[in-house]
């Protein structure tokens, strides 16, 4: 699993990557009450706003971690946003994307580097 400084995690699944927010980010945000997912097929560039989430406290944008295409979204979050708080790196995944340059993954943080970031 790889991480971004924006507190997202990415995990390779075949030629796709699964993207979500980290347990640390979910804890900081508090209980999520709303998730607005992107349309499947959307082409995104790194740092585009792709997901809107709202917690009990405030609204936040989730940015595209890398360039690519959104190929699947976790529709279950629409009705049960708190899945993100309960299982941020499992059932709380947000979308799957096909990366324009799969090797971009290599430039992201590994788990140790991410742990150091939030320490």
């Amino acid at each position: 699993m790889k991480f971004t400084e924006e507190h997202e995690w990415l995990e390779a699944e075949g030629d796709l990557v699964i993207v979500g927010i980290t347990a640390y980010a979910a804890e900081q945000l508090g209980d999520l009450v709303f998730v607005e997912l992107p349309d499947v097929g959307t082409e995104v560039a790194k740092d585009d706003e792709v997901v809107v989430i709202e917690s009990v406290k405030a609204a936040s944008d989730i940015l595209a971690p890398l360039d690519g295409e959104i190929v699947e979204v976790n529709e279950a979050l629409t009705d049960e946003p708190t899945k993100v708080n309960e299982d941020a790196t499992g059932d709380g995944w947000m979308f799957k994307m096909k990366l324009t340059n799969p090797s971009d993954m290599d430039n992201l943080l590994d788990e140790d580097a991410y742990k150091a970031l939030i320490a």
Partner: protein
């Protein structure tokens, strides 16, 4: 660390794992490990304990010794029937200004030979100065130091408090009483700000933690932070001073006419005689140009404070603004309150909010969003 003040329960909050935030000059718990959603639901299902010690507690003692003189004096600052408030009873009120706006909202209790007030934390110093100037000639005022304030709210609150203080059961909604607990004097009111039955309990600082621990030791009681306090009061349709009412909002605009008794209105025995009476009395009779309303957004996206409201999907002239909004855990959906122009303020009306560049529909809804559960 911040320079924020701490309540006498600060150490307990930290021990319980609370996330602390600055609020009105105090370092307060916004949530405990349970989290805002579960805390909210727990309070509606059982009982929640809140630390509201940051709020101001004020005693008004009449120099004459006759509480009616204190009541008459306070009536010069609030458009409320204080003289008619019976001994051992409490009622909601607000300080008004010369422009007819609301300077703060508060609870007023008649305790036999004096009045006891609870005012908002952020306003307490200004309120005290305002009262000193207005009432100082007839009354001695005291801002209570050395007492904490706890709120115990929810359907299990009565059973919980009665296990420590049996006489609490005999109190009805808006009763106040001084009751003994382990030799210490508790000033209790049967009220709160969640829409649930419950109590507010003023306790000496030295016994506050012991009382909190005794309540938290009960199966039904969990500690609740400011986050859930906000969603509970919003579901209950209650105003947060500084968000939903402020020095520019009049009582009629704020849909608080119910808090101004007939005796203080035009043709009442003690009509007027409070700051801003000209405007406030005129609006009581003829209405105001805008009105506070409840909103239920379609879909799940919350419409938060500051969101601009429109009559339809295309018009460019706003009709109002959201003042508080969020997710209602009990109603399982978003809810807001805000102000719209009087001609758009009909319950059932669909209006539109501009949310992230899109117009989203919302229905004007009667408040409270959840039925109140008071013990009348």
């Amino acid at each position: 660390m911040s320079g924020d003040k701490q309540t006498s329960l600060h150490g307990l909050h930290v021990e319980l794992g609370a996330k602390m935030v600055p609020f009105a000059g105090y370092d307060m718990p916004v949530q405990y490990p349970m989290g805002v959603l579960k805390e909210h639901l727990h309070c509606r299902a059982a009982a929640g304990l809140f630390d509201v010690s940051h709020m101001g507690q004020v005693l008004i003692r009449p120099k004459s010794g006759d509480v009616a003189d204190a009541a008459r004096a306070l009536e010069t600052l609030v458009p409320v029937d204080v003289l008619g408030l019976g001994e051992g009873r409490q009622r909601y009120g607000f300080f008004t200004n010369e422009a007819g706006g609301i300077e703060d909202d508060l609870m007023i209790a008649n305790r036999g030979d004096h009045l006891f007030l609870v005012v908002n934390a952020a306003c307490k110093d200004a309120d005290f100065a305002h009262m000193q100037a207005g009432l100082g000639a007839d009354c001695d005022l005291e801002m209570i130091e050395g007492r904490s304030l706890l709120a115990l709210q929810g359907p299990a609150a009565e059973g919980a408090l009665a296990s420590l203080v049996p006489a609490a059961t005999d109190m009805k909604f808006m009763d106040v009483a001084v009751l003994d607990w382990n030799g210490c004097e508790l000033w209790i009111s049967r009220s709160g700000y969640t829409g649930e039955d419950g109590y507010e309990i003023s306790v000496p600082d030295g016994q506050a933690e012991e009382l909190a621990r005794a309540l938290l030791a009960l199966e039904a009681v969990e500690p609740i932070g400011l986050g859930a306090r906000d969603s509970l009061r919003l579901e209950a349709g209650l105003c947060l001073y500084g968000n939903d009412i402020d020095s520019d909002t009049s009582p009629t605009e704020a849909a608080l006419n119910w808090a101004i008794q007939k005796v203080r209105r035009t043709d009442g025995a003690r009509a007027g005689g409070f700051p801003g009476a000209d405007r406030i009395l005129a609006e009581l009779a003829g209405g105001a140009a805008r009105k506070r309303v409840g909103l239920r957004p379609e879909g799940r996206a919350p419409m938060r404070g500051g969101t601009i409201l429109f009559a339809d999907e295309t018009s460019t002239t706003p009709i109002g603004e959201v003042t508080s909004g969020g997710f209602g855990p009990t109603i399982q959906g978003p809810m807001s309150m805000g102000y719209v122009t009087a001609e758009n303020a009909t319950i059932g009306n669909t209006i539109y909010a501009e949310l992230r560049g899109k117009r989203m529909a919302a229905t004007l809804t009667k408040m409270p969003f959840t039925p109140a559960n008071f013990k009348r």
